[in-house]
């Protein structure tokens, strides 16, 4: 976890050094949706930090777990205290690569993104498809991918096992702009 933070910090500072080549957003959106016969649970996060290095197509995303907003405050409490233990693991992190980034045209197209995602202190390899639109002033990425709760050692108590889906859908909308200081 700590080395990941250091890596991310290095990435951020290298982003500062040559500002021209970095695109970033501090107000990225991500949400997850769990659908079960008992209830649907949804949480939104509008404070996602995402940085793309346009010279390589590398992407780094940081998410604060406590920034997920639920409809019911009790759900939010359970999510933070019991499931993702956000006091112990305050962030989710993705570090990866957008495939074939250099050859992207200006039109909307599908790209494959692969890398490592860390949630609840557990790191997994992940690959997903995303819609990308790249222009001079903007890189937007949108997509959705499934996450299996058990993969990240998140324990769901048997009392509420029917309320929470085993696999939740994660959606993201990241609208990067050139980094200027």
């Amino acid at each position: 976890m700590k080395s990941l933070h250091i890596l991310l910090c290095c990435f951020l500072f290298s982003a500062l050094m040559n500002g021209q080549e970095k695109f970033l957003t501090k107000q990225g959106f991500t949400s997850f949706f769990s659908s079960s016969p008992v209830e649907d649970i949804k949480a939104d996060n509008n404070q996602v930090l995402s940085i793309i290095d346009t010279s390589t197509g590398a992407i780094a995303i940081s998410i604060l777990m406590k920034s997920f907003m639920f409809e019911k405050s009790l759900m939010q409490e359970h999510f933070n205290e019991n499931y993702v233990e956000s006091d112990k693991y305050p962030k989710a992190i993705f570090k990866g690569q957008i495939a074939n980034f250099k050859n992207l045209g200006n039109d909307e197209q599908l790209v494959s993104i692969h890398g490592d995602i860390t949630i609840h202190g557990v790191t997994k390899k992940i690959e997903t498809q995303a819609k990308i639109v790249r222009t001079e002033e903007n890189i937007s990425l949108t997509g959705t991918f499934p996450i299996t709760v058990a993969d990240f050692k998140i324990k769901i108590p048997s009392v509420v096992i029917n309320n929470i889906a085993e696999t939740v859908a994660v959606t993201f909308e990241l609208d990067h702009t050139p980094y200027k200081k």
């Binding site: 933070h5 951020l12 500062l16 501090k26 107000q27 959106f29 509008n46 404070q47 930090l49 940081s62 604060l64 777990m65 406590k66 920034s67 907003m69 019911k72 405050s73 009790l74 939010q76 933070n80 956000s86 006091d87 305050p90 962030k91």
Partner: protein, 143 residues
């Protein structure tokens, strides 16, 4: 057992079930913290808050996360994302800032704000990325 005693037992069971249901319903529907009506747990200058996170993030997390924080500083940036206002407190020289995501009710006050203005904002701290992030923010006063 007499009939009377039996009715008494049934009624008391019903009452217990009813009270139990009401309590669990009110727990389930417990409202979110109303930042506007709550008094802040911590009041400080935006620079102090940022310094604390930059110096020792873990310590700052344990001190500030999920707390209602009232922070005073200078507006360095105003932006709108998905119809929601964001007030950034800081100065041009610093790398990090305090990003205050306004609550839906506070959006209309955005138009009265301008860069360079001193302001006091109250919100809930969710952590530190490049900036310290406060959500559900309410504007206390502006000068």
């Amino acid at each position: 057992m007499t009939r009377r005693a039996r009715i008494k037992i049934i009624i008391s069971i019903l009452i217990i079930v009813l009270v139990g249901t009401l309590i669990s319903m009110s727990l389930y529907n417990k409202p979110h913290t109303d930042v506007a009506k709550s008094s802040p747990n911590i009041s400080l200058a935006s620079k102090t808050l940022l310094d604390d996170f930059e110096n020792d993030e873990n310590l700052a997390n344990s001190k500030y996360l999920e707390q209602i924080i009232q922070v005073s500083g200078t507006i360095s940036e105003l932006s709108v994302s998905k119809g929601k206002g964001i007030v950034t407190l800081g100065n041009k020289d610093s790398f990090g800032n305090i990003m205050c995501h306004l609550s839906a009710k506070e959006n209309e006050k955005m138009t009265a704000l301008e860069k360079g203005q001193s302001i006091t904002i109250k919100g809930i701290c969710t952590g530190y990325l490049m900036d310290v992030i406060l959500v559900k923010c309410v504007i206390i006063n502006q000068q």
